[in-house]
Amino acid sequence: MAIALEAKHVVKEYMVDGSTLTAVGDVSLQIAAGEFVALVGPSGSGKTTLLAMLAGLLAPTSGQIAIAGRELSAMKEAERTRFRREKIGFTFQANNLVPYLNVQENVELMLQLNRNTSAAGRARAKDLLARLGLGQRLHNLPGQLSGGQQQRVAIARSLIHDPAIVLADEPTASLDTERAFQVVETFAELIHEEGRAGVMVTHDLRMCTHVDRVIHMTDGVIDRIYTSRHDILALAQGEAIHEVPVS
């Protein structure tokens, strides 16, 4: 499969009170199109910082990141902004949606940003929302939706513009367990079906059930990677995490 995202020796350091703090230290990884990867680890392990760098929102101190073959650090700020709206889909932990746009408008916002408000694009938005169980909610405002419904709208928005990669930051953090599983399952289905690369940051290992690979970070570095279905399910079910061999 084609490589959608490649990070080589990515480092992020901050200067704090005169001393250097390493948030992410020498991380390298590849994610293929159609692959759904979970980035897990304890608080402060650097997973959100790594996600921000993968998204082109934060410049690494050193190392390279390429998405769809394009090197992010070679781009100027305006070009990176345009690249984000064309090639990357986002869902966030909170404040995902524009509160004064209805469900359909929120999804079509990505099309408007990309100057693609064709009838086909709008039809695709409706289909995607119907697929996510929001066909009857097209004209509702975000404030009229549950947390799970809002996350599903955000998922639709993250996929509507045909991105190379979809990045999700704790998409289930504010949801109850049942809704969280539903959201991740739907997310995984769409990523696999549409051949996108997907990266999900989560602190909840149970959400890893539907991913293809789990990357575990501690203190800014990748310390374990789980690739076999058996290992991932064992991790998700909380079974003897330390016994799972590091890949």
């Binding site: 921000a52 929102l57 902004t81 064309e86 986002f90 404040n95 524009v98 004064y100 408007q112």
Partner: protein
């Protein structure tokens, strides 16, 4: 299509938060009403003080030097006009006397300025109806449009003018021969009388004065060449003893209280504009602060700073424009509803300036908020800062 995105976002936010934005539009409307009303009041009061002098058919006004440009304090003998006429460059001289009185009408008497003028000389206003005075001692009056409207007088009416002379209030009957355009003086409507009639009718402080020699307050001087104002004024001061000549603007600016009144009202207008600027600026700054997370998310998904700023500026312009237009209409409506004795007067150039200033306070007030929005980092969408 993307070029419409800022308008789309700006409009949708207003449309789906109508109550919040209506409140701000209401504030802009009230500020506009206040600014325009103060401006109209300023113009009305100013016109009420300066109108007669500002529209004189003369270029200079001559005062008794010791009067320090105070019309009421200036007393000049009737024969002074001959001396003034002899000054090179002077084309005509009209003695003008000012006094106060009242006219009898149905209901309350109407207080008026009684202005004495020499027929055929500067100081006699043009008439829009009727004729001018026939002779200096004719029992005739030219009333200004305000007297005609407020007292209901018409051409040919015999009207009764009352004035206090010594310890008595005396009444005189004069016939309305002409109606002049508005010629207020001392914020009162005016009645012009021929010089000799005015001398009999005018208010006099003591009995002795009733028998005194005719006198007037100032002389309106028309020049052969209006461009030679300063030169002729200097010549008058040099050749005629104890007088000073000034142009009309200087004359009405020295009307008691005029400058203080105008500067007070201008200050009020300025402060109202400043308050408007702070209120609008404050509202949009709060709005910007409340939207930091949302703006961060928009920037993270690829919205440019230009899109975010343009949507915001569109809102500011729409809100300010609606507020100012509604306010201008409300101010105009309010002026129509007020009784005619309230001196509000809209001067087009002044209204236009005020409206342009009011339209500018939105963008100026919102500029700080736009700067805040531009500084929001897309990283905030992930709860991070650089």
């Amino acid at each position: 299509m993307r070029s419409n995105l800022p308008l789309f976002l700006g409009f949708k936010e207003i449309w789906r938060n109508k109550a919040r934005f209506a409140l701000v539009i209401g504030v802009v409307t009230l500020i506009t009403v206040l600014v325009l009303f103060i401006a109209a009041l300023s113009e009305g009061l100013g016109a009420g003080n300066r109108e007669y002098i500002a529209t004189l058919d003369a270029e200079l006004l001559v005062y008794q030097e010791a009067a320090d440009l105070t019309i009421g304090a200036s007393q000049m003998p009737a024969n002074l006009t001959r001396s003034l006429r002899r000054v090179e460059g002077v084309a005509a001289v009209g003695p003008v006397g000012f006094s106060t009185g009242s006219v009898v009408r149905v209901g309350e008497p109407l207080d008026v300025a009684l202005i004495g003028v020499q027929p055929g000389q500067p100081g006699v206003p043009p008439v829009r109806e009727g004729v001018t005075f026939s002779r200096p001692n004719a029992r005739e009056a030219i009333i200004d449009a305000n007297v005609a409207e407020q007292a209901g007088f018409k051409l040919g009416d015999l009207i009764t003018v009352r004035s206090v002379q010594g310890e008595d209030e005396n009444s005189y009957q004069v016939r309305v021969v002409g109606i002049a355009p508005s010629r207020k003086y001392g914020i009162q409507p005016s009645i012009m009388l021929p010089a000799d009639t005015w001398e009999r009718v005018r208010a006099k402080p003591a009995i002795a004065d009733v028998q005194g020699a005719p006198a007037f307050n100032v002389a309106a001087v028309r020049l052969s060449d209006p461009q030679q104002r300063e030169a002729v004024a200097a010549r008058i001061a040099g050749r005629v003893k104890d007088v000073v000549a000034v142009d009309l603007k200087t004359a009405y600016e020295n009307t008691p209280g005029y400058t203080a009144q105008q500067s007070t009202l201008s200050t009020q207008s300025g402060f109202t504009l400043l308050i408007g600027l702070l209120v609008i600026g404050g509202f949009f700054q709060i709005q910007a602060i409340q939207k930091i997370a949302q703006i961060g998310m928009l920037k993270a998904i690829g919205a440019s700073n230009r899109t975010v700023a343009a949507a915001f500026i569109f809102q500011v312009v729409i809100i300010t424009t609606i507020g100012v237009l509604v306010g201008a209409l409300a101010a105009f409506g309010l002026s129509l509803a007020l009784p005619s004795v309230v001196p509000v007067q809209f001067e087009p150039a002044q209204v236009l300036t005020a409206v342009l200033l009011l339209l500018a306070i939105g963008p100026i007030g919102g500029a700080v908020a736009v700067r805040s929005l531009l500084k929001v980092e897309p990283l905030t969408a992930l709860g991070l800062t650089s």
